[in-house]
C-alpha cells in the first residue's frame, strides 16, 4: 500500500510515454524521494553528461508515505544533474503535487529528451497529453498556473518562469504560486527541455487495510510528537523567527557576508513579519502550517522565509520589509532561487562599492534592488552578468575571495565564522553550499555547543547528513523534528513490516554516499570541498562573532576527521570497504 509500483517515463523528444514497474530492490535500499531519485540518476545518466543536454533527466519522486495521512509527508523530490554545479541535485517542493501524482497512480515520473517546441504535460490518471505551451512561454509562473487552471480546472501544477526558460543556473520550479524546488537550477533543466509546466490530476486513492487502527496511531503521534512545543514554532512564527537567533549569535549574513549582524534586523524579523501576516497555509497532510501570507503596502507574498530575509534583506543591506516582500514575490513569479539571487545582487553591490567593477548598484539601494529580479531573469542590462551566479561573476570581474559559494552554489543564511560546523556542512554538502543536508547551527550557534571549536563537529555534521538523507528519502518535512525511531514506527505501519531505526540510519548513510559517488564520478574530490577565502582569512567585527574567523588549518583538520568518520580517504574518495559495507 505504500507504493503504487508504477513509474511513468516520458520522452519529450519522441512524445511517447511508457508505464513501467518501480524497481522494488532499489525502493528497499533507498526508500523513495531523494535516495531513490539519485539511484535512478546514478544508474541512468552517463558519467560526464552535459547537464544542459537532452540526455539529462528530470525525476519527480514521491515517497512511500506520500498521499497518506501520515503527518508532514506531502513533499515531492525533484532531481537531475545540476546545470549550476555539475553535481547531483535533488530539491524538495511542498504543496499538493506529490499526493496528486500518487492518486494518479504513480510513484515517480522520469522526464527524458527535449520537446521541439514549448510544451506542458497534462497527466490525469492513465491519460497523458503533451500540450502546446506557445501561449505560456515568456510568462511568469503565476500567470502560467492561473492560465492552466482556467483551461484544465482543478489540477496541481509545477511551472517555470522566465528564469527557467532563459536557462539561469539558479532558476527554480514553482507550485501553488509560492512553493519552490529552489536550488541548483532545477527549473533550468525544465527550461532546457522546453517544458513549461507539468499538471496532474489524480482520481484514485491509496488502500489502507485497517484505517481505524492506522488513524488512531497517527493521531496519537500528531498530538504527542508533531503539534508539540518542539514543532509549533513553525505555526506561531515560521522561519522568520530565525532572524532573531542569527542576529543574536552573530551569524546573520550582512552585506555579502562582510558582517554577521544587521542594524536593521528589527524591521525584517519575525515580529515585523507577524505584523503584516494575513493568513497561514499548510502543505498536504501538514498540521503545522508554516506558510505565512503577508501583505504590506502594495506587496503580498507567501513568505518571506528566513533564507529570503537573510540573503535578500540583510545581505543586500535592505531593511525595508515591503521591498523584501516585493523582491520575494518577483523572484517567485519569475522563478529565481532567492538564496542565489540575493547572493548575486549582494556580490554585485560589494564589487561596485570596492571599485572592482561598477554594476551601478550599492548596498541598501532599494530602487535598483527591485529592478534586479526582472533584469536577472531576462538577462537584461547588468542582469545578464548576475544571471550566471557569483562564481562566474568572480571569474569575469574578480573578487574570488568573497564570491560566496561552494561548488558554484551560493551560500545560505548562516555565517560559518560563527558556526564552524555550518562551514563543514556547506563544504561537504552533495549539491554545493546547502543548509538542508545538515543544519548543525541549531545545536551549536543556537544551542549549547561552542561554535568556535572543531571538536565533535565532524561527527555532528555526518550524523545530521545521514539523518536528513533518510528523512528526505522517506519524505518527511524538514520542519518536523522527527527522530529515526519515530520514522521507523510510521514506516512500519505503511510498509507492513518491521522497520528499525538502525536500518534507517544505514539507508541514510547509503543515500549520502551514493550522492558522493555520483559526484566522485563527475571528478569532484577534496579540492572541491572548500569555502571562500573570506571565511578563513577575514575576521568579523560586530556582535557575538566580532574577531572571529574559521582558520583554514582548523577547517582542514575538521574535513580530514569528517572523511575518516565517513570511511573516505584523504582525498575524499569513498573507500572500497565502505562501498561494500553499504552495498553500493
Amino acid at each position: 500500500m505504500a507504493y503504487t509500483g508504477n513509474i511513468l517515463r516520458v520522452n519529450l523528444s519522441t512524445g511517447k510515454a511508457v508505464k513501467e514497474k518501480l524497481n522494488e530492490n532499489w525502493a528497499k535500499d533507498y526508500l523513495g524521494g531523494k535516495g531513490l531519485a539519485i539511484k535512478y540518476l546514478y544508474e541512468e545518466l552517463k558519467p560526464g553528461l552535459d547537464p544542459w543536454s537532452e540526455d539529462n533527466k528530470l525525476i519527480l519522486m514521491t515517497g512511500p508515505l506520500t498521499g497518506t495521512i501520515a503527518p508532514n509527508t506531502g513533499k515531492l523530490a525533484v532531481a537531475a544533474k545540476s546545470p549550476a554545479t555539475g553535481t547531483i541535485l535533488d530539491c524538495s517542493i511542498g504543496g499538493h503535487f506529490a499526493p496528486e501524482l500518487k492518486y494518479a497512480g504513480y510513484d515517480a515520473v522520469i522526464i527524458e529528451g527535449k520537446a521541439k517546441v514549448p510544451v506542458y504535460l497534462y497527466l490525469e490518471d492513465d491519460q497523458l497529453e503533451l500540450r502546446s505551451a506557445a501561449g505560456l512561454w515568456g510568462k511568469g509562473a503565476h500567470e502560467t498556473e492561473h492560465s492552466i487552471a482556467e483551461t484544465l480546472g482543478d489540477v496541481v501544477t509545477l511551472a517555470i518562469g522566465q528564469a527557467g526558460e532563459n536557462l539561469l543556473p539558479f532558476a527554480c520550479i514553482s507550485s501553488e504560486l509560492y512553493r519552490q524546488a529552489g536550488r541548483g537550477g532545477i527549473g533550468a533543466v525544465m527550461g532546457s527541455k522546453n517544458l513549461k509546466a507539468i499538471s496532474v490530476r489524480g482520481t484514485g486513492g491509496l488502500k489502507i487495510p485497517d484505517i481505524r487502527k492506522v488513524s488512531m496511531a497517527l493521531n496519537k503521534i500528531k498530538r504527542e510528537d508533531t503539534m508539540d512545543e518542539e514543532n509549533m514554532w513553525a505555526y506561531t512564527d515560521g522561519t522568520p523567527m530565525i532572524v532573531e537567533l542569527s542576529q543574536t549569535t552573530g551569524i546573520l549574513p550582512t552585506r555579502n557576508f562582510q558582517e554577521g549582524t544587521f542594524e536593521g534586523h528589527e524591521n525584517v524579523d519575525s515580529e515585523a513579519v507577524k505584523g503584516v501576516l494575513r493568513a497561514k497555509k499548510a502543505c498536504f497532510a501538514c498540521p503545522l502550517a508554516c506558510g505565512n501570507y503577508v501583505e504590506k503596502g502594495k506587496s503580498r507574498v507567501e513568505g518571506p522565509e528566513y533564507e529570503t530575509l537573510a540573503l535578500c534583506s540583510s545581505n543586500c543591506g535592505i531593511d525595508d520589509l515591503e521591498a523584501v516582500i516585493e523582491f520575494n514575490r518577483l523572484c517567485d513569479d519569475y522563478c529565481l532561487d532567492t538564496i542565489s539571487a540575493g547572493n548575486a545582487v549582494a556580490f554585485a553591490m560589494e564589487l561596485t562599492e570596492k571599485g572592482i567593477h561598477d554594476f551601478g548598484i550599492r548596498f541598501g539601494d532599494i530602487d535598483k534592488y527591485l529592478q534586479m529580479p526582472w533584469l536577472i531573469s531576462n538577462r537584461e542590462g547588468i542582469g545578464a552578468e548576475l544571471a550566471e551566479g557569483v562564481s562566474s561573476m568572480a571569474d569575469k570581474f574578480g573578487g574570488k575571495d568573497f564570491a560566496m559559494h561552494v561548488k558554484k552554489l551560493e551560500i545560505p543564511g548562516y555565517e560559518p565564522r560563527g558556526s564552524w560546523s555550518m562551514g563543514l556542512a556547506y563544504g561537504t554538502s552533495d549539491r554545493g553550499a546547502c543548509h538542508l543536508r545538515a543544519w548543525p547551527a541549531a545545536v551549536e550557534a543556537f544551542g549549547d555547543l561552542d561554535p568556535f571549536t572543531i571538536e565533535g563537529k565532524a561527527e555532528l555534521v555526518k550524523d545530521m547528513q545521514d539523518d536528513n538523507s533518510v528523512k528526505f528519502s522517506a519524505i518527511f518535512c524538514d520542519f518536523w523534528a522527527i527522530s529515526t525511531g519515530r520514522m521507523a514506527e510510521i514506516l512500519s505501519i505503511f510498509l507492513e513490516r518491521e522497520v528499525t531505526a538502525e536500518e534507517l540510519t544505514t539507508i541514510g548513510e547509503r543515500v549520502y554516499n551514493l550522492a558522493r559517488l555520483f559526484n566522485e564520478r563527475e571528478g569532484f574530490t577534496r579540492k572541491d570541498d572548500y569555502l571562500p577565502r573570506r571565511i578563513y582569512d577575514e575576521k568579523l567585527t560586530t556582535g557575538k562573532t566580532s574577531g572571529k574567523n574559521l582558520p583554514f588549518e582548523e577547517y582542514e583538520k575538521m574535513l580530514s576527521e569528517y572523511y575518516a568518520l565517513r570511511g573516505w580517504d584523504e582525498k575524499g574518495i569513498i573507500t572500497e570497504a565502505k562501498k561494500k559495507a553499504l552495498n553500493l
Binding site: E230, D237, T239, W439, G447, D478, F479
Partner: protein, 77 residues
C-alpha cells in the same frame, strides 16, 4: 525582583497570555535555569535564551530589571 519577560512562539502558553509581560520573582536573584523552572517551562522545549540582546547560558545570573527572551526549539532552517 522584576524581569521583563518575553516567551516566544509556542512558549507563550507558560505566561499570562501576552507574549511580553513583567514577571516578579520572589528572590533577589536567580539563574536563567531557575527562572525557567519557576515558569514551569520544560527545559527540553527551550533552545535559546537572551538577556538584553545577548545569548545567555542557563547559569547566567539575573538580578532584576533585565529583558529576558525565551525561544522555543526550531528545526529545519
Amino acid at each position: 525582583m522584576q524581569i521583563s519577560l518575553k516567551l516566544r512562539g509556542p512558549l507563550k502558553k507558560y505566561g499570562p497570555g501576552a507574549e511580553t509581560f513583567e514577571y516578579t520573582v520572589n528572590a533577589n536573584s536567580c539563574t536563567v535555569r531557575q527562572l525557567i523552572e519557576i515558569m514551569n517551562i520544560p527545559p527540553s522545549s527551550v533552545s535559546f535564551v537572551t538577556v538584553g540582546d545577548k545569548k545567555a547560558g542557563l547559569d547566567t545570573l539575573l538580578e532584576g530589571n533585565e529583558e529576558v527572551t525565551v525561544y522555543p526549539r526550531v528545526a529545519g532552517g
